[in-house]
Symmetry: C2
Subunit: 316 residues, 2 copies
């Protein structure tokens, strides 16, 4: 049997056919931008799902369940999206609507939670009970696996790990609060800080790289500038590692998971990020050196994590 995993984003939906072992045997995508109302979005997702079943040479008889990962706040128990900024939904009964098109068990989860679930299954390590995945992207997303199950709290919206405090009263966050981890550790925040540093240090390599890029920074510039010996780049990278690191210390002190995986485009930096991050985090965790330490790794599934995790919502 197979699962359909759907990863709904702000501008489109991706769907894949996922095996029991977590491989994607077919996938496709469809734009959803401009669609009005959740019914239209669900219809587009359903048609995409049915198409991808055919693409895989299967019929719906081969499908065990459908899982949908959705940005925003999701009531996973009742199959409802409380609300989502990106795709303008409020109290949308997504699972019931999808069942009109595909009469299978339908599951829904927050997209960051689905990505975490995908990464967890991909570990293939039966000894891991507790696992946290963090995505450093436009925002900072998190998903928490406890006792091998996705943890979503009493209302479905737990695990908003980007929205824990880093700096009391600090940078404004998209959630309306000030000083959230996301406002320092997201790629968006690194880009903001890089543009500020370029402006403040016009003679730096960072500034010339930003200028060459049409006046816009990206998450690669500070790392490249640091590697070339630029002190402004080095400070940006050091600060970013301390911002990401402090949040990871929090997560370890809270959950003490066997493994924390970090993902998102910034993680393409590989060991340039991972090695100093481990050096920052581990000595600062509670009981460091006296209790077994959490392992910090880079997430492996990339963009497929959402599809695989959504498919595996049925297995949670």
């Amino acid at each position: 049997m197979y699962y359909i995993g759907i990863d709904l984003g702000g501008t489109g939906a991706k769907a894949g056919i996922v095996t029991e072992e977590g491989s994607i045997i077919a996938k496709s995508s469809v734009p959803t931008k401009g669609l009005e109302g959740y019914e239209a979005v669900v219809e587009a997702m359903a048609k995409l799902a049915i198409k991808v079943v055919a693409d895989a040479g299967l019929t719906l008889d081969d499908i065990k369940a459908v899982g949908i990962g959705c940005p925003g706040s999701v009531d996973d128990k009742n199959g409802v999206v409380y609300y989502s900024n990106n795709i303008v939904m409020e109290n949308a009964p997504i699972c019931d609507e999808m069942k009109k098109y595909i009469d299978k068990p339908i599951y829904i989860g927050n997209d960051a939670n689905c990505a975490a679930l995908g990464e967890f299954f991909n570990l293939g390590d039966d000894s891991v009970e507790n696992f946290v995945a963090i995505t450093l992207g436009t925002g900072v997303g998190g998903g928490v696996i406890l006792g091998k199950k996705l943890y979503t709290g009493f209302n479905g919206v737990a695990g908003e790990l980007g929205h824990i405090n880093l700096c009391f009263g600090g940078e404004s966050c998209t959630c309306g609060r000030k000083g959230c981890w996301e406002a320092y550790a997201s790629a968006t925040a690194l880009i903001r800080d890089t543009e500020r540093a370029a402006k403040a240090n016009p003679d730096s390599l960072v500034a010339s790289m930003v200028a060459k890029n049409g006046g816009k920074a990206n998450g690669i510039i500070p790392f490249e500038a640091a590697k070339a010996g630029d002190s402004v780049g080095k400070t940006l990278v050091d600060n970013y590692i301390s911002y990401v690191g402090e949040g990871l210390v929090d997560i370890i002190n809270i959950f003490q998971p066997s493994i924390v995986a970090i993902g998102g485009g910034i993680c393409n930096q590989g060991d340039n990020l991972l090695i100093p991050l481990r050096e920052y985090v581990i000595p600062r965790t509670y009981g460091a050196g006296l209790v077994p330490a959490t392992e910090i790794i880079i997430a492996k599934l990339g963009n497929d994590a959402g599809i695989i995790g959504a498919a595996f919502l049925a297995k949670k």
Copy 2:
């Protein structure tokens, strides 16, 4: 059948006989200060436990299990205290040692975790699956109940909620890190801030109250001064509520528990603390107004929470 609950502190141990329903029918205490080595501490606890069994008119045949709440980092699965600053233990096999005196199932847990477990059982509300208790005392302790079970992570030391970030690079914390929630929201921190404010504002009511108290602040002075209209007292209370509140927002965004209970001496302020705290916290949580909200309450068991929770480690 009955349980023995033991609450080990920095200077002494308390033991109680706890019923299946969570009532204490007898309790007693013994000093442990000055005892050298974990063996001597366990011997003192065992003798105390045997005494309190007799005090209750019972014999060991009436006892189902023994639970011990211990400050520090505890490996609950193996019955070992990794280390404890307060009572100088390192890799101490407490459960095996206790079994030499009382041949019953012996359980051990971190003291803040035990207090949380006690408060959870005391709720008596079967609908509550996820619950967090915070103690605002010398430090800030936390305990997390998920799926009706104490959550302790892969190594036993999860739930160190006092050691999450409030203010990046801020006040030094006892754990060696800077800016932890504990360094702002503990009673110790409030006292520090009150003494600083008294020094900086020698004409304030806060300053005169501190002077009358022999130059030492306490956790009551700022609240009393604020009630009397003193602006320095009011600022201290407002700041303290924002410090405690920011950490509670974090905890809600992470766990979305049905209930968060706050305890510790500061909570004797009752509604003076609870009402502004709720007003601060709830609108700042992720998805406020759109998703069901966590309830914030004041813990009810006071000093007995540790004994009752330790006894109920066997029920976890």
